[in-house]
């Protein structure tokens, strides 16, 4: 831009590149289509859903929400609460496990360090299905299959979380600061808790978000583990609702309204959080 601005002959130095801009907006439009549709469709009453034009708004949003809340004594809101519980608790604990492991791998030099890191990372490559079926059978042996713990315990270890935590710890925690703390007589645990942890915090927020979204979006694990719909997370609940809808289409309106209400919190979270948090952190990019 500076090079162009220096040349006075050019008429419009800040000319917009039309083609790339158009392509970007087209891509954004494509990404908005289903979201726009669910916004519109959830306002349609049952008979309007299949009869009016796709993007013509209906008249029944509040009725739909009331119907959804009344459906089987408000089971929908229990699904929502379960999703918040699984994703919230799971992400906090998983973040703690990642922070500890990543810190150890970044700060200490010890025999077997790279081997441990490699083995933990290899967990990323394991297809969830080869894990989920035996996990179910093993948890059934321990009488835990079908319990809330059965969808919480297997997600606590996140190889990607440990990978990110190691990168953040390497970049954010200078070794001379740790050395100084030790000289002052702080133990290893205190050094971690009072010195390193606050420095790693921005990175840990990222791991928390990543795990929160991963657990919130998870379907396979609860699908395999749970049978009592009081314990279902949102994804599984909506799936069963859709499944029943093929026999009674009136449920479709509930499915659509339910999808809207399930999508909004996470979208709001991202819109809110991106003001002070950069998406780039998600890929382990650290400012140097």
């Amino acid at each position: 831009m500076t090079a162009q601005a220096l040349r006075p002959g050019r008429a419009a130095p800040r000319r917009v590149a039309l083609l790339p801009t158009a392509a970007l907006l087209l891509g954004a439009l494509y990404c908005l289509v289903p979201v726009a549709w669910v916004l519109v469709a959830s306002t349609k009453a049952g008979d309007e859903l299949f009869s009016t034009f796709t993007f013509a708004p209906g008249t029944g949003l509040l009725d739909n929400i009331a119907d959804l809340s009344a459906y089987r004594d408000g089971v929908y809101w229990r699904w929502m609460a379960n999703s918040v519980l699984y994703a919230g608790v799971g992400a906090v604990l998983s973040c703690a496990v990642s922070a500890l492991g990543g810190y150890a791998l970044a700060v200490y030099r010890f025999r077997g360090r790279e081997a441990v890191f490699g083995v933990l990372l290899a967990g990323v490559l394991m297809p969830p299905v080869i894990l989920a079926v035996p996990q179910y059978l093993l948890l059934a042996e321990a009488d835990l299959a079908g319990s809330r713990l059965s969808v919480l315990l297997p997600v606590l270890l996140s190889p990607y979380g440990i990978y990110l935590a190691r990168i953040y710890a390497t970049a954010a925690v200078p070794s001379d600061v740790l050395e100084a703390a030790r000289m002052d007589g702080a133990g290893e645990w205190r050094t971690f808790r009072t010195i390193a942890l606050p420095m790693m915090l921005p990175g840990l927020v990222t791991i928390f978000l990543f795990q929160f979204v991963a657990i919130w979006n998870n379907f396979l694990l609860p699908f395999i583990m749970l049978s009592d719909d009081e314990k279902f997370p949102m994804t599984l609940g909506l799936y069963t609702l859709l499944n029943q809808g093929s026999n009674s289409p009136s449920l479709y309106t509930l499915v659509i309204t339910g999808s809207l209400l399930a999508v909004l919190p996470l979208i709001a979270l991202f819109l809110f959080i991106q003001r002070f948090w950069s998406l780039d952190l998600l890929t382990g990019a650290v400012k140097s």
Partner: protein, 306 residues
């Protein structure tokens, strides 16, 4: 006294910090994998009519579960379907991700902040809900496409059956996955020092030339990474076809290999053959993804040698 203890404490510390991760790894990764392999090598033998407690016993089966799995036409068909699906999803998704990342990194483009956020947005939408929303948009009575074609008097395609089903499913994955991959590539693009393009621009290169000749080769590692994870994710497709099933009868319970594992384990109740199939899928996934990494690594080295 404390001074003498410290070297020992410092040696033990990393293992103490790693203990939760290692325990979880052993319990929820290593043990299940070992158990799956164990199950896959055994089978249930039924004696007589299979009644009574002693009539069914678990016995050693050798590799017979694997032989059955590999010769099962249902598994092969499922693998072919996922292969076709993957050949659409991976190139389209990563092509779009690269295109948008390059646009975000280019000069004189308007709406970059908006575009980046909105294209990333589907990442926050669970696969099940994405499949559900698109699934409704594919239904003839709801779809805007059908409305339009109907108004124009043109024939209306069935989006949830035949060949169109692949495109319909691929579209869901592309919609959900492009944004995340775009961010990965865009982050790599921003790590390229600015003086590299500045030099090229002063030499008279256009933005397109800079993008193709300088930026794309420099973000090859990020492209390899996104390719790698896309292959793994594609081979494990499960939620989307499972969610679309109630809306169409074009998707069987064994549409993808993973769906077959689920059916065998929980509907048919044959955990042994399900375990064998799961191990086969895992091995194929690892072979394909590492094969790809090796090929990519070899190419990079070749280019570096030039």
């Amino acid at each position: 006294m404390t001074r003498r203890r410290r070297p020992g404490a410092r040696r033990r510390a990393p293992w103490a910090f790693l203990a939760p991760a290692i325990v979880l790894f052993l319990l929820f990764f290593a043990l299940p994998i070992g158990y799956a392999i164990h199950l896959s090598l055994r089978t249930i033998e039924v004696q007589g009519l299979g009644l009574g407690s002693g009539a069914r016993s678990e016995v050693w089966a050798g590799l017979s579960n694997y032989a059955d799995a590999l010769s099962d036409p249902e598994l092969l068909d499922g693998a072919l379907r996922v292969g076709v699906y993957g050949l659409i999803v991976v190139p389209v998704m990563l092509g779009l991700a690269l295109l948008f990342a390059l646009i975000l990194d280019a000069d004189r483009v308007r709406g970059r902040r908006f575009g980046r956020l909105v294209i990333f947005l589907p990442y926050a939408v669970p696969g099940v809900i994405a499949a559900l929303l698109w699934g409704f948009l594919y239904l003839p009575s709801v779809s805007p496409l059908h409305h339009t074609l109907d108004a124009l008097g043109l024939p209306e395609p069935d989006l949830l059956g035949g060949g169109a089903l692949y495109a319909a499913l691929a579209n869901i994955a592309v919609w959900g996955g492009t944004g995340f991959n775009m961010i990965v590539i865009y982050t790599a693009l921003r790590a390229i020092p600015a003086d590299v393009h500045e030099a090229a621009r002063l030499d008279g290169c256009s933005q397109l030339q800079i993008a193709l000749r300088i930026k794309v080769p420099m973000v090859t590692p990020a492209l390899v990474l996104t390719f790698f994870f896309s292959i793994i994710a594609t081979l494990q497709v499960f939620s989307e076809p499972t969610t679309l099933r109630p809306l169409t009868n074009g998707i069987s319970t064994t549409w993808s290999p993973l769906m077959k594992v689920y059916r065998d384990a929980f509907d048919t109740g044959d955990v042994h053959s399900a375990a064998a199939t799961a191990v086969v899928i895992a091995v194929v996934t690892l072979a394909l993804s590492f094969g790809f990494l090796r090929a990519a690594g070899a190419r990079t080295r070749q280019e570096e040698a030039r």
